[in-house]
Every structure is written in structure tokens, then in C-alpha cells.
Amino acid sequence: MVNKETEPIFWSLFSAGGVVAGLFLPIELLIFGIAIPLEWMHQPSYPALLALVHSPITRIYLFVLCSLPLFHFAHRFRYTLYDGLQIKHLNEVVFACCYGIAILGTVTAGYLLLTM
């Protein structure tokens, strides 16, 4: 599946996902995973968040934020397993699992955001 022709596609997704993850994910996790649970900032009300997530711009934003970073993960984690654990013989399995997660996440995000 990965050859000279297709590698640039996977690498572009990795690169684009790396930029999106680098710019957007830290603040998202900081707010919802740390700041709100520790009550450093107040929790936005459920109706307010629902209204926010119903706006088309937010939906596109969230879709991009869920999809591209997963393809970044798939590429990078695949090579971590190759280099770190030296399991080149499991090439196909690792490839299928990593990109399987990325596609599953993308489809889930698309489904949730379209059918809300």
C-alpha cells in the first residue's frame, strides 16, 4: 500500500496533521482536560456549548481537528513501532491498525457532526 507513488499522500497527511495538532490540540486539552476539571475556569453551560457546536464553522473546525491529527498519529506511530520495537515483519498489520484508527476516527467525527 505504501510505495513511491502513495508515500507523498501519507506524508502530506502526516505533515498537515502535525501542524493542526501543534497549533490547536494543546489549548483544547488544557481547557477541557485540565482547566475545567480543576475549576481554573468556569464550565460553559450545556446549551451554550450545544449552540456553539451547531454552528457550521465549529463543525468544520472540529472535523478537521479530529481527522488530520489522527493521520499524523498513524504515520508517526507506525514508524515509532518500526524504529523502536524493530517489528518490520508486522508491517502490514501495523499499517492496517494505525490507518484503521485514523479512518474510524474520521468517519465517527463526520457522522457525529453531520447527524447531530
Partner: protein
Amino acid sequence: MSSGQSSAPALAPVHGENEQPQVTYTEFHPRWYRPQISTYWWLGKWPYVKFILRELTSVAVAWTVAVMLMQIFALTHSGAFYDGFEALMALPVMILVNFIAFAFLVFHSVTWFNLAPKAMAVRVGGKRVHGILISGPQYLAWIAVSAIVLFILATRT
């Protein structure tokens, strides 16, 4: 047995006790030289450890997306589901995991932005542009994006 074969175990890959190499070695095809590299090869030097830690930031990226997907699912399902999501996030173990994941995410951002000048050799007037002019705007964009997201979420009531 040739004299070459008698010393084979010293250089040949590690085999089991009963497992003998099936190849007959000649002078011109002496032995495979395939040294075994430990799975923990990267623990020896700090730059190697840093490399593996940087590569492992992808796990934190996937984790964050998983949290976001859970949040979107809860949010679009019902208020009770979203209360459940909040309760889950408030668990001490989740806060701890998120702290670690956040540290990895920041490590990804910093290493990613610092890598850009090395990947793009921009030249103006025959001179290579200093790295800070390429990574600098990305840090500014990072701060701006974070401030905007924080502002939007902090002003929801």
C-alpha cells in the same frame, strides 16, 4: 567443517542451542553480518531518548482526539451524557493522564515548529533566512490560536 565455520557463532546472529546455520560458507561469501540491536537501543543517549519521546507524542495526539470524540458524542447526545463526560474528566486519574498528554502535546508543538526551518531552506537574495524567521511566526500563530479558542470558550455562559 572448514576453519571459517568453527568461529561462526562469534559473529553470526544468535541462534538457539540446537539451531545450526544451514548455509555453507565459502571464502567469498563468509558470513552474514547482522548484529542484533537491542529493543532498548534508544535508552543509551539523551538525543535518542528525546527522539523516541518526540515520536511518542503521536500517542498523546490520538488520546486528545479520542477525548474530543467522546466530548462531541456526549454533547450531541444529551445533557445527562455531557454531565457524565464532565464527571469522567474530573476523575483524578483522568486529570493526571491529561497532564501527561498535555506535556507531550507541548513537546510536539515545540519540536514541530523548530523543525520547520530545517525542512524549509528559504533563501532571500542568495542568503538563507534565519530559522527564527520561519519558526517565529508559527509560535505567534500558536499563541493567537490558543488565545482565540480560550476567549471563545471563556465567554460562553
